[in-house]
Every structure is written in structure tokens, then in C-alpha cells.
């Protein structure tokens, strides 16, 4: 359980970091996934580029448009930010499910996105909110939409020479509520299945739109628009009285999770239905009647 040899770089500026990265290597931010992979010799990068000394990367910017987390913004910092929670409550709702407090103290939001674990919470959040990732390399910068960012299990659209410098989570639209529900074997474990939900009400405070994103059911986050089954046949019902079972059944029919040693495919699919119902109901309850 000792890593194989690697070169270690500790750049002090973003430019240095990008120059180092141009030579090849793996970025070390919070290290909560990378260090175990190194110790188990499942990863053997020639070079580690430790960006923890790059001061400009830890910014957490909250504007009316949304929350922008720099590459070194720790889970705990985002989770505890009242400003971020006010603009986009789903972040805090989801981050509470990310591992344990000590891991959240060190792990980074952007690192979790770049790691692109299909069982992780934040990729589903970014996908549901239509957020994006900002990437930089020595040759330029670009923005990658969430829909394009997650390309496979532990695979993202980042190029080898690129550093994900920030992630942007758009603000909540008016009269919209969010919720996050997941089921893990133990407190803080990777979820067997998780669902992030977003429900928007109309001027009459009836459900106008309902969407959910799922983790643990496919190689990448799955986003489903559940507005149709959520609205159909529920005319006149206030959000607290909506029957979400049709939406849950709709979701169940559209996911095809695999099984592993912790849970079989049938159980995971069943959980998609249960969690869809629970998350949508809670999101509707959380939708402020008077707009945000």
C-alpha cells in the first residue's frame, strides 16, 4: 500500500500548473480518491501536480447567477456557505451525503466532478442544474457543459493537459424547490442509488416542471424530465398533495442500473422509484411560494 515512484510538482501559480500539466501528469487537489488509488497501485502517474499551493483556485464566488466553485474549494466550504445555499440549495443538500466530514474537509467539489465517479453526488447535481466546468490548459480555456462533461465511468471530457479550474452551478429559478435523496449501505458510503430533484411551480402554485438526476444507475449521471407524468391527471392539486407515483414509475422504466456486490439491478431500479417519489415530494415542499 505504498505508491509507485512519481515526480512531484508544487506550482504556485495557475500558469505554472498548466505548464507542468502540459508535460503530462495527474492533478492532486483534495486527494480523497487519488491517494488511495496511488497507494493501491491502481494508478501510476509519472508526475503529480499538486495544485494546493495555487492560491487563486480556492475561490467560492456566489452571485445572483449562481455558485462558482474554484478548483480548490473544499466540499466543507461549499456546504457551510450560507450564500451558496441561498442561491442554490441543492449543493448543500447533496454535499451532506458526500462521505464523512473529514473527507469533506479535504476533498474538493471540482475534484469530485473531474473524478466522474458514477456513484458520486456532485456529477448528478451539476447535470440536473445544467451547470458547467471551466477548463484551462497552456493553450487556452474553454467551458464544458455538464451534458458533455461526463463521458463514462471515471471519464470526463477533460483533456490530459487540461485543469478543471472551476465549476458553475446556476442559481435556482423562481418558485423552484430542490431535494436530494440517496440510499447508502452505511452512513457516508457511496450511494447505491441517489436522486436529485428539482420542482418548479407556476403562478398558481401548481407543479409546472419536475426533473430529476440519478447517480449509481448508469456510467454517467442520468437526467430525466418528469414533468409529464408529474403534471398529468393532477390538475388542481397543490404541490403538497401531488401523487408522484406516475413520475416514479416513469423514472423506473427509463433507467437500467447494473448490479454489484452491494445491491442487485432489480433493487436499484426499485430504489429509483422510491427515491424519485421522495425527492420530488420534498422538492415540491421546498419550492418557495413567493419566488426566491
Amino acid at each position: 500500500m505504498k505508491p509507485p515512484p512519481f515526480d512531484y510538482r508544487a506550482p504556485r501559480t495557475l500558469e505554472e500548473a498548466l505548464e507542468d500539466l502540459a508535460e503530462g501528469g495527474k492533478v492532486l487537489a483534495g486527494g480523497q480518491s487519488l491517494i488511495p488509488l496511488l497507494n493501491m497501485r491502481l494508478a501510476a502517474p509519472e508526475r503529480l501536480i499538486d495544485i494546493n499551493g495555487v492560491a487563486s483556485l480556492d475561490a467560492l464566488e456566489v452571485t445572483a447567477a449562481g455558485v462558482r466553485a474554484g478548483a480548490l474549494a473544499r466540499h466543507a466550504a461549499v456546504e457551510r456557505s450560507a450564500e451558496a445555499a441561498a442561491v442554490q440549495p441543492l449543493l448543500r443538500q447533496a454535499l451532506r451525503h458526500v462521505a464523512h466530514p473529514v473527507i469533506r474537509n479535504r476533498g474538493t467539489v471540482v475534484g469530485s466532478l473531474a473524478h466522474a465517479d458514477p456513484a458520486a453526488e456532485l456529477p448528478a447535481v451539476l447535470a440536473l442544474l445544467d451547470g458547467h466546468v471551466e477548463a484551462a490548459s497552456a493553450s487556452g480555456r474553454r467551458t464544458v457543459a455538464a451534458a458533455d462533461f461526463f463521458t463514462g465511468p471515471l471519464e470526463s471530457a477533460l483533456r490530459p493537459e487540461e485543469l478543471a479550474t472551476a465549476a458553475f452551478f446556476p442559481a435556482l429559478p423562481p418558485r423552484t424547490g430542490t431535494a436530494f435523496a440517496e440510499l447508502a449501505r452505511r452512513h457516508g458510503d457511496y450511494a447505491l442509488v441517489g436522486a436529485a430533484a428539482l420542482v418548479t411551480l407556476d403562478d398558481d402554485l401548481r407543479v409546472r416542471a419536475a426533473r430529476a438526476a440519478y447517480l449509481g444507475v448508469a456510467d454517467t449521471p442520468v437526467v430525466l424530465d418528469l414533468t409529464g407524468p408529474a403534471v398529468q391527471g393532477q390538475e388542481g392539486r397543490p404541490p403538497g398533495a401531488v401523487d408522484w407515483s406516475a413520475a416514479a414509475a416513469h423514472a423506473v422504466a427509463r433507467v437500467n442500473p447494473g448490479g454489484d456486490i452491494h445491491a442487485g439491478a432489480d433493487y436499484r431500479r426499485h430504489l429509483v422509484g422510491v427515491l424519485t417519489g421522495r425527492a420530488l415530494a420534498e422538492a415540491a415542499r421546498n419550492a418557495p411560494p413567493g419566488g426566491t
Partner: protein, 798 residues
């Protein structure tokens, strides 16, 4: 002092990071790493080390061919048994065939562990992969063999019978027949194994530190293996971060190879096991399949019980067949099972070896008996507690002979207990009576809750012996030493409590040394809930010797009859006359006649200072100098602790999650030395029991790969998964030992799977016959039960 719930004296040191564990030692030592088999069953065709040779800092690479006779031979079979007709053990480094993933094939020694692993990674081993035997029933089917010369994969087969159980079952008014499954788990101590060795070429002596549960065992095994006199081998167990059974196995391959290499190289060598190695290179436990036939009367009294057990012992049997023997003999628990027949077949598989893990076969036996009790109750429509009570051994029936032979080769005779009283206590603690209404009220809210109960009897304090040495020095400090080891139990506290109480000294003056062969050479080890019973009594007996000697010397000094003396706060005084007194530190001075005065106290013991008859030798015949004493405790047989647990669980109707709402324990370990430590032991045991009931299993695929060999995928409960525990104590002293105590170490873990199964069955109305039970497992059971009435259980009263 004896019996007081004082805080653990070792905690400030251990909790502030001042512990000295194996890897904290030997900072300059060379590091060892091991090349381990990636295959469950394979023939080694060749080993090519060339690519490793240019790793900077490499010191040595060893394969089986490099090992001299003795060192390279198969490891000892520690506990032979006539029924173990085909015992097999591994060599420290595999010679031609590997039989489980993780078996050591080569050892690398390098400047540090990083480099050792770099070199190990470059060693190429060519294997011819052989078909693997995985799973108990595949082993029994024996279409493939683990050892070519072991037919049927059967290592051992043992039948024990009391009466004619098949006939009793056949003649009984009611009969049931069913199958139970328990999966594998493991001890999984926080600190893995580890060994650090120093060879002194001038002295020709070896000092070995090992994270072991038996330093004396390691010492004798090493002396034999390495051809050294015992006096030239010292083995020390430093602070040990948990053992739970796995560290009583010895010598481990690494425990032989590291000291051997240290002597050969003339350098200090250390190996610290990592977690991946612990999963595949140490030991597991628990896995069994049981088939039960039971016959009973209208009151639920068992008339005949016939149990057939298939036990998976992994690839080798270094620790013999202790686990299935314990399952077989502790299965009857607090009951009189009528006629009893138990048959086990212990089978080889291409998996990690199976050796005792806290509970050591009892959780399986208790699962069997307690599931049987619940099934009888369901069949007859009786209260589950009533059925148990109907089968209890009554308090007036002790000593009670179960007619079986226990793991120590002695008759299984229960010494004392009060099971009816204990049942009343546990029912009260958990709220048994009236639970039917509670369950119904929950049901009306759409919630499912259930209650479960489990009882056990645990043979503790197995022999053959332990010893204690007690010395009071001329400062008045009391030095207690015992040979068995500590791995977190609180021996520094309880042994000091015993010594303080026996000697009449402040506990602050008492220090305790354990697991160091330099301090005490004769010992067995810390396992089988035996430390308090064995060393506790030995220390008490040694203290009584020292006390007698102190009173004798003080009597002479005070010109008083020793029978009129007592010791309070470290001072010997005449009863009723506090002015006629002499401190123990002065008695210690007088106990050691001196020629030389090295300080003021010593001056009082020199030849012109002491009185006494000029015609008597300064040290009388039959006496030894010094205020110290040594004694041993060797019991005629084990003493039997007992306990009952109960739980209320809630199952989620949608997600099938299982949550423990309440958990209660009543425990009887005879006289308690320290109730706080007993309770801590119970809490830790229950936590491990919750792991076994709801989370932990070793997931092997059909090729023998362990799929969950990490803490990410092998799910031990966190604090968040362990319920609050309400504990009640009952004390029925053991008549077998001077202190009247019984063991408490393993108790907490034993009935938990049985209790949780009972409670989930009650909540769900579905038969729970296999553990552990995951949410997915319950989800699948629900689906099957929906179409198969045989899987459903009638709602049980209470």
C-alpha cells in the same frame, strides 16, 4: 477497588496518540514486502526476479528455495485433534502450489517499504492456473480438490451424540427441518499484523516485536524453527491495536521469515501488514451451512435436536478445528436439548484460512439454536420467550453436564448461572411484554417494527494455565507481570484493581506488564475470553503470596502475630492499633538483606542494621530475597458465562432498510472486576455483531478472487450504524476460581445475528434463515415470500 467502575488507566496514553504500536518501532529497520499469489489455486512454474534486481535500495529477495530446512517447512498444526484426519498447513513461502489468493510466494527486503513494493511488483511469477474450489457446497461436492491428497476436501469429520437424537426427533409430537446459512466475516483489527526483529550477533540472541495475541507462543515457535535456545529469544507484544482472534494464530509466515532474515542479514527488519494483505493473507471466520432437524412437545420443549454442519476452513488448518468444535458444543446454550446429535464436516476451499474470530464459532451455534427456538414458537403459536424458558436449565441444576467434550478436551459442565432471572431482566429492559400493542400501533402508522431475542452460554477461561508475578519494591511501588498479551482490553486497569485489592495498596502504585517474555516467560495467550479469569486469578494468587510474606516480615519487625496485621494504603499495621505500623516499602527493604547501602532505605537492610538471630541465615531456608511472589492458575475446566440480548428493529416498507431502534443486553460474567470495562467489551462486541448481522461478508467470485478486499467494500459498521445499548448485569459467581469471575471478552458479539434475525422476522413475517441480511437481501426475500407461502411466518405473539 475490586468491582469499581474506574476509568481505564491506559486510555489517556492511547487516546492522545502516545501508544507504541508495531509500526512505531524500528524506524531504521529494513522493510519487508511480500509477493502474494494472485490466483486461488495455481502451480508455480517459475519465479523470475531479474527485473527487480536493479531497484535501488533492494537488499534481498527470498523464495522457497532460499529457505533452509526448518524455516521453509510447513508451518505447525497448532491444535491437533483426532478428528482432524487430514490437517494441512502452508509453508512460509509457497513451494509448488498456491491455494488461495494472498498466499506468500516471495519476500523482498529493501531500504524502505516503498522500494520493497517497487521490487515486489517487478518479480514475475509464472503460474499454471488450476481450478479453484470456492463455496462450502462446492467443497462438499468435491468435483475439484484443494489438496490432491485430501479426498472429498474433508479435513475433519466429527460426530458428538448425547442420547439418540434421530429417534427422539422421529418420535416427537412436532418436527421441523430447515437449513441455515452464515457468511464469512473476519476479525479485522484496526492494526493489522506486524513483526519487527533484531538480531544481536554478539549475544547470539534474537529480539522480536510482534503484534500478536501470544508472545510466549511466538517465542517457542521461533526458537524451534530457527534452532535457537529459548533463552536466546525474546518476544514482546507492544501496544496491539486489536486482535479479535486473528493474532493468536502463530507463527504466521511473516513471523518466521522476518526474524530469519534479520539474523541472516544481521540487520533489523520490519514488516507491517497493510489492509489489502490483511484481507487476503490473514484469516477469516464464520462461514457455515447448517441443516437442522428438531422434535419437540406441545410446550415447545425440545426432545431431540439433530444438527449437521458444513464448515468452511479455507485452504489450510493451522489452528485445527476449534471453530466447528465450539459451534457444536456451545450450540445448546442455556437449554436442555433432550437428545442431541451434532455432526460437522470441515472442508477445504481455495480461500483464506479460517481461524477463531471473537465468538469463535459461537455466533453460528447460537444462530442455529435461537432460530430453532423461534421456529418452534411460530409452529406452536407460543411466545418466543416462553419457549426458551421451557427449555432452560434451572438454577438448582448446576453444575450441569451437557455430556459433550469442549474445546479444551474437558467435559462441558456448566458451573453456574440463572437463566430464568436473566430472561426476566432482558424482557424488562427491552419492553417485551406489551410489544404486540407497540407493533400494532406502528403498523397503523405504516411502519414495520419487530422484536427479537437471543440467549447464549459461553465457555470462558480455557486452560491450561496463566501465571502472575508481583513485586513490591523499596519505594512501595507494585510491579505486576503476566505473560499473556493485551490488545486493548484494559488489562492495565483490571489487573491493577485486583492487585490493589489483594495487597491493600493504592492503585496508583501498581503498574502492570503484559506480553513481554522478558518479564514473564510462561503463558498461553489472550483469546477465548480468558485473560481476566486466567491471569486475574493468577495475579490474585501471587498477590496473596506476597501479602503473606509481607505480613510475616512485618510481624517480626512489629513483634506482632501476622494474623493480627492488615494492610491499608500500602502500610502494614496491627489491627486496632494504627501506631504499630510499617510501610510496605520498608518491608520490601527488610525482605532483601543487603551488604551494600546504596541509599538511605538500603542502609536499613544492611548487615549491621538488621536485627535477628545471629544463628539464623539472613535469608531463612525456603525463603527468597525480595518482596515478590509468583503463582499460577490452572483451572480444571472452563467457566461458563451467559447472556441474553434483545432488539427492536424497524424495516422500511419501501427501501427495505433495517434500523435497530433499541438494543438491550443482560450479561453474567460472575463477579465483575470493573463493570465499566465489562460494558465496554459488550459494546464493542455488539458493534461487531451488528457487522455480522447486517453488513459484513467476504465476497468471493467463482475463481476465488475476494471482490471486496478493502474498507470501502467490506462494510464494517460505523458508529452511526451501532445502536445505543442498554445493559443489565447479573452476577452469579463462578465456584471454579478464587475470584469467582468468568470471561467477558467475546460475549457481546455472540447472539447478535440471532437477535436481529428474530426481530426482522417479527417485523416482516418472513423467514430469516441466512445472515448477514442487507436491504437488497430483504427486498429479494419480500419478492420471493410474496409468491411462496413457505417463506412466510405467522405473526408471533409478542
Amino acid at each position: 477497588m475490586f468491582g469499581e467502575p474506574i476509568p481505564r488507566r491506559e486510555d489517556p496514553r492511547l487516546l492522545t496518540g502516545q501508544g507504541r504500536y508495531l509500526d512505531d518501532l524500528g524506524r531504521g529497520a529494513l522493510a519487508a514486502a511480500f509477493v502474494r499469489s494472485p490466483h486461488a489455486h495455481a502451480r508455480i512454474e517459475g519465479i523470475d526476479v531479474d527485473a527487480a534486481l536493479d531497484v535501488d535500495g533492494l537488499v534481498a529477495i527470498y523464495t522457497h528455495e532460499d529457505l533452509p530446512p526448518g524455516v521453509g517447512d510447513p508451518l505447525p498444526l497448532l491444535i491437533p485433534h483426532p478428528a482432524l484426519t487430514h490437517g494441512r498447513t502452508a509453508r512460509p513461502l509457497a513451494r509448488d502450489v498456491v491455494r488461495h489468493v494472498g498466499e506468500p510466494v516471495a519476500m523482498v527486503v529493501a531500504r524502505d517499504r516503498y522500494l520493497a513494493e517497487d521490487a515486489a511488483e517487478r518479480i514475475r511469477v509464472d503460474y499454471e492456473v488450476l481450478p479453484a474450489v470456492v463455496g462450502i457446497e462446492n467443497a462438499a461436492a468435491a468435483e475439484r480438490l484443494v489438496h490432491e491428497d485430501v479426498p472429498g476436501n474433508v479435513g475433519a469429520h466429527l460426530v458428538q451424540e448425547v442420547g439418540d437424537a434421530p429417534a427422539a426427533v422421529a418420535a416427537a409430537p412436532h418436527r421441523l427441518e430447515f437449513r441455515l446459512d452464515i457468511e464469512r466475516s473476519a476479525s479485522m483489527p484496526l492494526e493489522g499484523r506486524g513483526v519487527y526483529a533484531r538480531w544481536d550477533p554478539d549475544e547470539g540472541s534474537l529480539r522480536v516485536y510482534s503484534s500478536t495475541q501470544t508472545s510466549t507462543g511466538v517465542r517457542m515457535a521461533l526458537a524451534a524453527r530457527l534452532g535457537l535456545p529459548k533463552t536466546k529469544v525474546e518476544v514482546i507484544a507492544p501496544d496491539v491495536g486489536g486482535g479479535f482472534g486473528v493474532k493468536v494464530v502463530h507463527p504466521w509466515p511473516e513471523e518466521v521469515l522476518v526474524p530469519w532474515a534479520a539474523r541472516l542479514l544481521g540487520r533489523e527488519v520490519k514488516w507491517t501488514e497493510d489492509r489489502r494483505e490483511h484481507f487476503v493473507g490473514a484469516a477469516h471466520e464464520r462461514g457455515q451451512v447448517q441443516r437442522v432437524r428438531v422434535g419437540f412437545d406441545d410446550a415447545g420443549r425440545i426432545l431431540g435436536l439433530d444438527v449437521t454442519i458444513l464448515h468452511d476452513h479455507g485452504a489450510y488448518t493451522p489452528y485445527g478445528i476449534i471453530v466447528p468444535i465450539v459451534t457444536s458444543t456451545q450450540l445448546p446454550g442455556p437449554y436442555k436439548p433432550g437428545a442431541y446429535r451434532v455432526e460437522f464436516t470441515s472442508l477445504y476451499t481455495n480461500t483464506v484460512i479460517v481461524t477463531p474470530y471473537r465468538g469463535a464459532g459461537r455466533p453460528q451455534g447460537v444462530f442455529c439454536m435461537e432460530r430453532t427456538m423461534d421456529k418452534i414458537a411460530a409452529h406452536l403459536g407460543l411466545d418466543r420467550a416462553e419457549v426458551r424458558a421451557a427449555n432452560f436449565i434451572r438454577p438448582e441444576e448446576f453444575p450441569y453436564d451437557q455430556g459433550l467434550t469442549f474445546q479444551d478436551g474437558r467435559p462441558l459442565i456448566y458451573d453456574s448461572g440463572d437463566y430464568p432471572r436473566m430472561l426476566e431482566m432482558i424482557k424488562e429492559l427491552i419492553g417485551w411484554d406489551g410489544f404486540a400493542e407497540e407493533r400494532e400501533a406502528a403498523r397503523r402508522e405504516g411502519r414495520r417494527i419487530g422484536i427479537g431475542l437471543g440467549c447464549y452460554v459461553e465457555g470462558t477461561g480455557v486452560g491450561p494455565y496463566e501465571g502472575g508475578h508481583v513485586e513490591i519494591d523499596s519505594t512501595g511501588r507494585v510491579h505486576v507481570a503476566t505473560g499473556l498479551t493485551s490488545q486493548g482490553q484494559g488489562h492495565q486497569t483490571v489487573f491493577a484493581q485486583i492487585a490493589a485489592a489483594e495487597l491493600g495498596v493504592p492503585i496508583e502504585d501498581v503498574t502492570v506488564a503484559t506480553g513481554d517474555t522478558r518479564r514473564f516467560g510462561y503463558a498461553v495467550g489472550t483469546f477465548a475470553s480468558r485473560a481476566a479469569v486466567m491471569s486475574g486469578n493468577a495475579i490474585a494468587l501471587a498477590c496473596r503470596r506476597v501479602r503473606d510474606k509481607a505480613l510475616r516480615i512485618a510481624g517480626e519487625a512489629l513483634e506482632a502475630d501476622p494474623r493480627d496485621l492488615e494492610i491499608t494504603d500500602g502500610v502494614v499495621h496491627v489491627r486496632g492499633d494504627p501506631t504499630a505500623a510499617i510501610p510496605l516499602r520498608t518491608v520490601a527493604v527488610l525482605a532483601n538483606p543487603l551488604r551494600y547501602a546504596f541509599d538511605e532505605e538500603a542502609r536499613r537492610a544492611t548487615q549491621f542494621a538488621v536485627g535477628g538471630s545471629p544463628d539464623e541465615p539472613p535469608v531463612p531456608a525456603g525463603e527468597e530475597p525480595g518482596l515478590e511472589g509468583r503463582d499460577y492458575y490452572s483451572p480444571v475446566r472452563s467457566t461458563f458465562a451467559s447472556g441474553m440480548h434483545a432488539a427492536v428493529v424497524e424495516t422500511d416498507p419501501e427501501t427495505a432498510e433495517i434500523r435497530i431502534l433499541r438494543y438491550a443486553v443482560v450479561h453474567d460474567c460472575g463477579r465483575m472486576i470493573n463493570p465499566r470495562i465489562v460494558e465496554g467489551q459488550i459494546h464493542g462486541g455488539v458493534a461487531q455483531g451488528v457487522g455480522g448481522a447486517l453488513y459484513e461478508r467476504m465476497v468471493y467470485d467463482e475463481s476465488g478472487q475476494l471482490l471486496n478486499a478493502s474498507f470501502m467494500d467490506f462494510l464494517m459498521p460505523y458508529a452511526t450504524e451501532v445502536p445505543r445499548i442498554r445493559t443489565g448485569h447479573l452476577e452469579t459467581p463462578s465456584p471454579l476460581n478464587p475470584l469467582g469471575i468468568k470471561g467477558a471478552g467475546e460475549a457481546g458479539v455472540i447472539p447478535v445475528s440471532a437477535v436481529i434475525a428474530s426481530a426482522v422476522e417479527d417485523a416482516e413475517g418472513i423467514r430469516i434463515d441466512a445472515m448477514p441480511l442487507s436491504p437488497d437481501g430483504l427486498f429479494r426475500l419480500r419478492r420471493r415470500a410474496a409468491v411462496d407461502p413457505a417463506l412466510r411466518v405467522e405473526r408471533l405473539p409478542a
